[in-house]
């Protein structure tokens, strides 16, 4: 089957001969877009998070055939024209990453969550909304701060980390 998707705002069509291929493996193994990571392959870690039609999903549990005709955004599609997306900037400034392996998924999740719910100035809401993205290095606090920054509202409670 020929899969046609809009990939990071560009049309992409690729012949896939095997219905078992997941969107994650399509990206990583067949399109060489390896920014999206595989941490568990079972929907349990969030490393594979991408946006499909603007919504974040686990690409490891999505068959590539199922996204035919839809638009897919990966971490490679965040920066435009060599300029980092604001969420990428704040992840760096808040040190919201250590090993960086969960980071692409965290970023896509951070961008996607705003499309799901009305955001309040509430770190608790961000923590809950980001709980599908495990970070074994433990960068959670920086991640929440970065997302609060990104969504334009730094909270007072919880975010006790002093900016250095």
């Amino acid at each position: 089957m020929i899969i046609r998707i809009e990939l990071n705002e560009k049309p992409c069509s690729i012949e896939v001969d095997d219905p078992r291929v997941t969107l994650l493996d399509l990206l990583r193994e067949r399109l060489n877009l390896t920014g999206t990571k595989k941490g568990c392959d079972r929907g349990q870690c969030g490393a594979c998070t991408v946006l499909v039609d603007g919504r974040r999903i686990n690409s490891c549990l999505t068959l590539a055939f199922s996204v035919d005709g839809r638009s897919v955004t990966t971490v490679e599609g965040l920066a435009k024209g060599g300029k980092l997306h604001p969420i990428q900037e704040v992840f760096i400034s808040r040190d919201a990453l250590q090993c960086g392996f969960c980071t692409p998924g965290q970023l896509m999740s951070a961008v996607g969550l705003a499309n799901e719910m009305p955001l309040r100035n509430d770190p608790e809401q961000i923590r809950e909304a980001m709980s599908g993205n495990l970070c074994r290095c433990g960068a959670y606090q920086g991640i929440v701060e970065a997302i609060m920054d990104y969504h334009g509202a730094l909270s007072t409670d919880g975010a006790t980390h002093e900016t250095i």
Binding site: L78, R136, A139, Y140
Partner: protein
């Protein structure tokens, strides 16, 4: 070296590799797709004890896309994987036979043109076994006296006479604490992409010790070191289980050899619960004896720890009892419990994490029994010298950690009795404290610095960045040691082509590789100064044995900074295209044997507990840590946060559940094996306490990667007790532990 104005060291720089990591451009092992590459998938054992009787190899091969099945019958030959060259003699399971010693042991590798085909090929092998019942129940398994605690430590040690002291003590505590089997679970599963070109091998694989990996491959495959190129620019977390090459990584290389094509082998998450090591299950008994002044007179720490039936690694939980609190007599004893499991190994803060988890509860219990505030009790038993050895500490600002942490936390308001505090929502609130400590280690390390005629430098060492920030902090050290600004230094790491940086483990990478970088830079500057001193045209002519300062690409005479010369001019006049220096540092510095070297900290925890339902949430963690000089406070704080979250994880979440009949781990994934999610981490603070240490290494820096776990575990457990009045002596503390205590439940 303390941070000084204008220098890179001590500055809270953001990560230099941040850009690569946020754009997806950082290349991790499994991101490599060389042309013609095949996919390999392991089949692993379903039984824990017995042998593989048959495999449906033909069925697998018939599956479209499957190219080859590697089994003990056709696996290319290599040297004995448990031979004398093996690190600590530990065996690797690389299909040397059909015997199975633990569940998830690799039993075959299927190689195919696609990942999907290889995966299904592995499933089609449908192994049949001759199964024997495994030893899988820690509580009923037999024990033997361990030969070592961990790999170096004495299995038993005694200072003073514990028995006599216990007998004479005014107060005695005797309790048993359990810690579960835990698995590293870095977010990046182990992966390897191996390409052979004749007898030359290139491998992309995450490694915390690249040169060691290179050597291991050389030994196993009998090919010269220079033929092997190991690349590991980024690791998606290591935490100890990417220290030594594991069996599956060797299998990837073997698979590539077998099919004569590049092969990628990525472990499935469930497969990481077997051959990669883990933090072994322990049961620890503490007998504490106190005198009238509530000073420890006896500390008897007996550890039972799981090991595999074929190798010995016993969690060195007793180490901490020898170094943390003063006591007239101290004894530690490690017993091994051989089971049909993969051999345990080093996992973030090996020994100290489990030991501290138990010791800190015991200390808390003793304090309460004596009617003392737990912090006061710890201060009362403060060790002024290292208890087991009597050596002075090279530095120890633990008192300042206690004081600053307590002040920040508001500890002074803590009621002595449990179950006294509620929040406005009616939830029980509890406060607990734990002491953090981790030894300051150092390994052998090397680095190379090259200064070129344009005044720029490259610094190389085979260091590994697994998230601790090596790309950044090492570049800072390099720049400072060379007297250059950061943008004039290219720092290279993550490849076995560079000098040996030792292992990124034991919280010693900065001490080791950082010191090597520092030494290479310092030596290079000395060479440069010597050239200038000999050069009549230099303003520094004749300054041979005088103090020279290197700054911003110039050398200055310290006593007269008007006399200076630039690197470019010095090299230019000498007609040199470049100068270089190679450094070598190691732990054998005699000064290291005169002092006890440890980092310390104090962790304060606040938990909320539902008074009827027992669900726990850690609402606040404040840690105050003293670890010598800080290269980059932003990165160090992140390390502390990470460690504290690991502590939280240990206290409340992590536990591998093993079926006692089959020996299989039932939650070998990331849904059933819990690690904290974002919502579990509410508020972290890490105070960096000033500590000057002239002895540990040239940088004055101690390790920070593992320190944060220790102390935190106990602080949380003690806070849960303080909230509820229920003392749980097993980890992780779960809802049912708080509900299900007959007569004492909440």
């Amino acid at each position: 070296m303390r941070g000084r104005h204008g220098s890179s060291v001590g500055q809270p720089l953001t990560r230099l590799d941040g850009h690569l990591k946020v754009t997806g451009a950082a290349v991790y092992a499994a991101d490599n797709n060389p042309p013609g590459m095949l996919h390999a998938v392991m089949a692993t054992s379903d039984i824990a004890n017995g042998k593989v009787a048959s495999l449906e190899i033909e069925a697998a091969k018939r599956h479209p896309g499957v190219v080859e099945v590697m089994t003990p019958d056709n696996r290319p030959p290599i040297a004995d994987p448990a031979g004398p060259d093996a690190p600590f003699g530990w065996r690797l399971d690389v299909l040397q036979s059909d015997i199975v010693h633990y569940a998830k042991q690799p039993i075959a590798v299927v190689i195919a043109t696609s990942l999907e085909a290889a995966t299904e090929g592995a499933a089609l092998l449908a192994p049949r076994y001759e199964e024997h019942s495994p030893v899988a129940d820690f509580d009923t398994a037999e024990t033997f006296a361990a030969t070592a605690a961990g790999v170096f430590g004495p299995a038993r040690d005694e200072m003073g006479n514990v028995e006599t002291e216990l007998h004479a003590a005014t107060f005695r505590l005797d309790e048993v604490y359990d810690t579960p089997a835990q698995y590293h679970n870095p977010m990046e599963p182990h992966a390897i992409v191996a390409s052979w070109d004749g007898d030359e091998l290139t491998v992309d694989t995450p490694s915390q010790g690249l040169i060691m990996a290179q050597r291991r491959i050389s030994d196993l495959f009998g090919i010269p070191l220079e033929n092997i190129h190991v690349r590991s620019p980024f690791l998606g977390g290591g935490f100890g289980n990417k220290g030594f090459l594991a069996g599956p990584q060797i299998l990837g290389i073997l698979a590539a050899r077998l099919v004569g094509k590049p092969v990628k082998l990525v472990m499935r998450r469930d497969q990481m619960y077997g051959p990669l090591g883990h933090r072994g299950r322990t049961q620890q008994r503490f007998q504490l004896g106190l005198d009238d002044d509530s000073k420890l007179v006896a500390l008897n720490h007996t550890i039972k720890a799981a090991t595999s039936i074929f190798d010995e690694f016993v969690e060195p939980a007793g180490k901490i009892s020898q170094t943390l609190y003063a006591s007239r007599a101290i004894a530690t004893d490690h017993q091994a419990v051989p089971m049909h499991i993969g051999t345990p190994g080093f996992m973030r803060a090996p020994g100290e994490a489990s030991g501290s988890a138990a010791l800190e509860i015991a200390m808390d219990e003793a304090a309460f029994a004596r009617g003392l505030d737990p912090l006061e009790f710890r201060l009362n038993n403060y060790a002024e010298v290292e208890p087991i050895s009597g050596k002075p500490f090279s530095s120890k600002e633990l008192r300042a950690c206690y004081t600053q942490g307590a002040a920040r936390f508001g500890w002074a308001d803590r009621p002595l009795l449990p179950r006294q505090m509620r929040n406005e929502a009616g939830l029980l609130v509890g406060w607990g404290v734990g002491t953090a400590t981790f030894p300051t280690l150092m390994f052998n390390g090397q680095a190379r610095a090259v200064l070129t005629a344009d005044g720029a430098a490259t610094v190389e060492t085979a260091a590994a960045d697994m998230g601790q920030g090596a790309w950044t902090s090492f570049a800072q050290i390099a720049a400072d040691s060379l007297g250059l600004s950061l943008d004039k230094v290219e720092f290279r790491a993550g490849s076995s082509k560079f000098p040996d940086a030792g292992i990124a483990g034991g919280s010693a990478h900065t001490a080791t590789a950082g010191s090597a970088i520092h030494a290479a830079g310092r030596d290079l500057i000395a060479k440069l100064a010597a050239i200038a001193a000999r050069d009549e045209r230099s303003a520094l002519h004749g300054t041979g044995n005088k103090d020279i300062v290197a700054r911003d690409g110039r050398l200055y005479l310290r006593e007269d900074e008007d006399r200076s010369d630039s690197y470019i001019d010095i090299l230019g006049r000498a007609g040199l295209g470049e100068i270089r220096s190679d450094s070598k540092v190691g732990p054998d510095d005699p000064i290291r044997s005169d002092y006890a070297m440890h980092a310390h900290g104090a962790v304060f925890a606040e938990v909320l507990v539902d008074p009827e339902l027992g669900q726990v949430r850690v609402s606040r963690l404040v840690g105050a840590f003293a670890a010598g000089a800080i290269i980059n406070p932003r990165l160090v704080r992140s390390q502390y946060y990470g460690g504290m979250i690991w502590g939280l994880s240990f206290a409340l979440h992590e536990e591998a559940l093993i079926d006692h009949r089959s020996g299989r781990i039932l939650n070998a994934d990331l849904a059933g094996y819990h690690v904290p999610v974002n919502a579990d981490v509410v508020s972290l603070e890490a105070l960096i306490v000033d500590e000057y240490d002239p002895h540990v290494n040239a940088l004055g820096a101690k390790g920070v990667g593992e320190l944060g776990i220790t102390g935190t575990v106990g602080a949380i457990a003690n806070a849960v007790w303080h909230a509820t009045g229920v003392r749980v002596r097993r980890y992780p503390i779960k809802i049912t532990d708080l509900i299900d205590q007959p007569g004492r439940s909440i």
